[in-house]
Amino acid sequence: MKKITIKQYAEALYQTTKSGSAKALKEVLQNFVKLLVKNKNLKLADKIITKFNQIYNQHEKIEEVEIITHQKLSGQTYQAISKWLEGILKKKIYLTKIINQKLMGGFIIKYQDVVLDSSMLRQLNNLHNFLLK
């Protein structure tokens, strides 16, 4: 029997879950786990879920974005950031909020391999480097 890859598992899971109800989804997941056990591939579950998330985001046009700020911002500000990112990326934005007090202000946005640093710390460092030239 030909070996099933992680990508194939993830793609199959997405195709079977995308249009089902919550009840049907539960059943599909149970069957999927049984299949993994039967094929002795249960140890690949974490990687399959990660890949499934990627495929799901790709198909549903969702971008998972990390936003790092000096302090917790108001919902309105997070919303403004999401809207701004949606305008740029033309995708739905899922924000993961992280607090880092070293930033002093502003934000850092990370998605895929892109880093957008608009923190006060970064601007101070830029000023520092400029003054030392």
Partner: protein, 169 residues
């Protein structure tokens, strides 16, 4: 003749005996005195002549060696003079070279010292500048830490969203 013999009372026998005696004496004298003396004189003469020749030869050799010595002395003087002149020339040349080398070394040392001073000055300026900038940054961070409230931070963020030149890494 007879008269003459009578007049002089010549006795032929005595005369012959005297002649024989004379002959014997003459022979003895010739054999043992004149001949050795003559030989000795000849030898002596030869020795003297040889001595004179030797003396002449020695004198000639002396003159010749004197000339040779003078010639050699003259040549040695010339060589010595040439050596002295060469030594003086080389000495002068070496002296000039030493002076030139010393000048070059002094120039190099001065240039090196100037460069070192300039580098140290530049380094010091950089250190001072760095200290000032670091101090300014630290002060600014402390001030910002106290001054930046949530409202200011959110206004700053919303302002950043309008900036089209946000820095992407």
């Amino acid at each position: 003749m007879d008269e003459l013999i009578k007049t002089f009372h010549i006795d032929w026998r005595l005369l012959v005996a005297q002649l024989v005696n004379f002959g014997i004496v003459l022979f003895v004298l010739w054999k043992f005195a004149v001949k050795p003396l003559s030989r000795m004189m000849n030898n002596r003469t030869k020795e003297i002549e040889k001595s004179l020749e030797d003396a002449k030869k020695i004198e000639e050799d002396l003159v010749k060696s004197q000339k040779q010595r003078e010639g050699k002395l003259t040549e040695a003087r010339k060589e010595a003079q040439a050596i002295i002149q060469k030594a003086q020339t080389e000495g002068n040349k070496q002296g000039e070279e030493m002076v030139d080398r010393a000048k070059a070394e002094v120039t190099t040392i001065i240039a090196g010292a100037k460069e070192q001073i300039a580098q140290e000055k530049s380094k010091m300026m950089k250190e001072v500048k760095s200290e000032v900038v670091n101090l300014t940054m630290e002060t600014t961070k402390k001030v910002l830490d106290k001054v930046v409230s949530k409202d200011i931070d959110e206004k700053f963020i919303k302002g950043s969203l309008k900036d089209k030149d946000l820095p992407f890494d």
